[in-house]
Symmetry: C2
Subunit: 353 residues, 2 copies
């Protein structure tokens, strides 16, 4: 199949390919226009006496929420949790949430459990904020304050551009809330463009053509990337792709890693990469086949490698880090004759209660 | 290999088998003696103006912490989060934690990241509580208040009795803190004894003899059981065992489930089981091979089944639910000629930073 056929409308993966490629453009659009949407939200947050932050999301958006949790813990120093919606929708928890900031993230804004738990949170006194890509969604109606993701319509079932857009929005939100400098984000669209279409992705897709189970790992700000990469590989290639934080991997699951189960290690520059060194050493001892996704200058032994742009800010790097892994999922799915735009058993809007 | 040979000291899995079997006894011991240890902790908690609860743990203990998160959200209505220690140990977060209750759970109490983050939390004003099985561990030294797990020495690398002991302790802690009735816990040792040595476990172990990847799922209070069962299968049988909450499974990973990837569904009585019904329906549509772990009276189609005792309280049921799944991991490991007491690549005390 030629490249032009692959990208033709209706060809397998054409939508996912186009939406991945669109990311630098989406990120530029957000940077150009976020301020007007964010200003009233940040004004409320800065006058709000916040005792804790709760985040609620599902699937890909849950990985964006996990990223926000790291940002909030490090930049704002507030106790932060990811909500299990079932405590609200199943077990009828009605906690006193005065002083709590509640952030709900969803591409569609349509999943009943997110809508119901956000309504309950608002009724119980939380300051509720939604971040959705579909305007006027039930979730944005339920929340007091709303942020528009501005990613443009996302049609492929496998979410890509709404993930990077969510990360950038959440970074802008936390950074503005903490009063920090946002200029460093100006580099994000170019980093993301530089991470697109790496020729090494095709080499790894070929190496993994017959793999049926693999592990992804990282630490700190890179860990949400490992989670999201695993989800993309599961939903488009039907692989058993298992994400672990590097520390959790050593607390048990390391036993299942052997020479026949490849490990994708996302090693950011900075502290996350330093924390991963003992993990890389133990993987080498176990004979694991490692694909290193890291800036070009990172020194570590590996069997395959996908280079990332140099000089990225560690907290913003996840926005560009995910791009070659989205493309790996796409290429691997196509090599197996699956259509990543229409994974078996999935719809674009998942409705859970 | 005869049963007596299997249980001989030094035989593969002998320690794990003995420690699994010991659980009703351990739980009885805790119920007989918890009050003196818990009273001063609960007195402090009830006079403490708590704004949020943070839990910190790794591996098996992290699943106990997740269980406690559900308990705290439903019984106490407090915002609750699971801590990413790397924000403290890697990114030097030093949040103001006055008003925060910090609960650290660890069998050994020795992992440096748990100790360091608990010291920081205490310095930053959190009311810190440790729950460890090793007395006078670095973690219990770091915390202001300490609870002894009282499980007795755990030698097998695969943790079993310290998991059920942790669940019971955390239930007793939350229930006493909320002022609720604790009499219902009196049934736990007998439920756990009734869950031991189910003959159906051997049938499932035989069915799964050649499986290399499977999925576990549940919802609500059963979800930590799904996570812990997957970890046991990973660390003793080297399977790709992947746990999802039923809702998260539908948001993407469902695509990878097909007729060749068995799914273990832990379906509690009560609300958790009701929330799982749409998940069971979608699994049936995808032709999944389902093993149902559920009370005998639960009506649902499945290909294999492990019955649980009837009449268990939904919030306490996880203590008995895990038992047949621990035994499944043990039997499956032995059938593959692995020694679950000494999984490859693991030590009893994992030291992460």
């Amino acid at each position: 199949m030629s490249t032009s056929e692959k990208s033709a409308v209706g060809a397998p993966g054409a939508l996912m390919a186009a939406e991945i490629a669109e990311q630098p453009h989406v990120l530029r659009r957000i940077l150009a226009s976020y301020a007007e949407h964010l200003a009233p939200v940040v004004a409320r947050l800065r006058s709000h006496d916040t005792r804790a932050v709760l985040l609620v999301a599902r699937g890909t958006s849950d990985h964006a929420a996990l990223y926000a949790k790291y940002l909030i813990e490090t930049q704002l120093g507030l106790p932060t949790g990811l909500v299990s919606t079932s405590t609200y929708t199943g077990y009828d928890a009605r906690p006193d949430l005065r002083g709590v900031v509640w952030i709900a993230v969803s591409q569609s804004g349509g999943s009943p459990d997110l809508v119901a738990s956000t309504q309950i949170a608002r009724d119980r006194g939380a300051l509720t904020i939604s971040l959705t890509n579909v305007d006027d969604s039930p979730l944005s109606e339920a929340a007091e304050l709303r942020l528009p993701m501005l990613a443009g319509a996302e049609i492929s079932v496998a979410a890509t551009k709404t993930y990077s857009a969510s990360l950038l929005w959440l970074w802008l939100l936390v950074r503005s809330w903490s009063g920090g400098d946002i200029d460093v984000a100006a580099g994000v669209p170019d980093w993301t463009a530089a991470a697109l279409d790496r020729p090494e992705v095709a080499e790894v897709a070929s190496r993994y053509r017959f793999v049926d189970r693999l592990v992804t790992t990282s630490r700190g700000f890179g860990y949400p990337t490992a989670r999201e990469a695993a989800l993309k590989l599961m939903e488009t290639c039907y692989l058993s792709a298992h994400a672990f934080s590097g520390a959790d991997l050593l607390h048990g699951p390391l036993a299942m890693v052997d020479e026949d189960r490849p490990v994708i290690v996302i090693s950011p520059a900075g502290q996350g990469g330093r924390m991963l060194r003992p993990v890389l050493e133990q993987l080498a001892e176990r004979g694991a086949d490692v694909c290193l996704v890291a800036p070009r200058e990172t020194v570590a032994r590996s069997h395959a490698r996908i280079p990332l742009p140099s000089g990225m800010d560690e907290q913003l790097a996840p926005i560009a880090q995910i791009v070659p892994l989205q493309q790996l999922a796409l290429q691997l799915a196509l090599s197996r004759h699956y259509d990543p735009d229409r994974p078996r058993g999935l719809n674009k809007v998942t409705r859970t209660t």
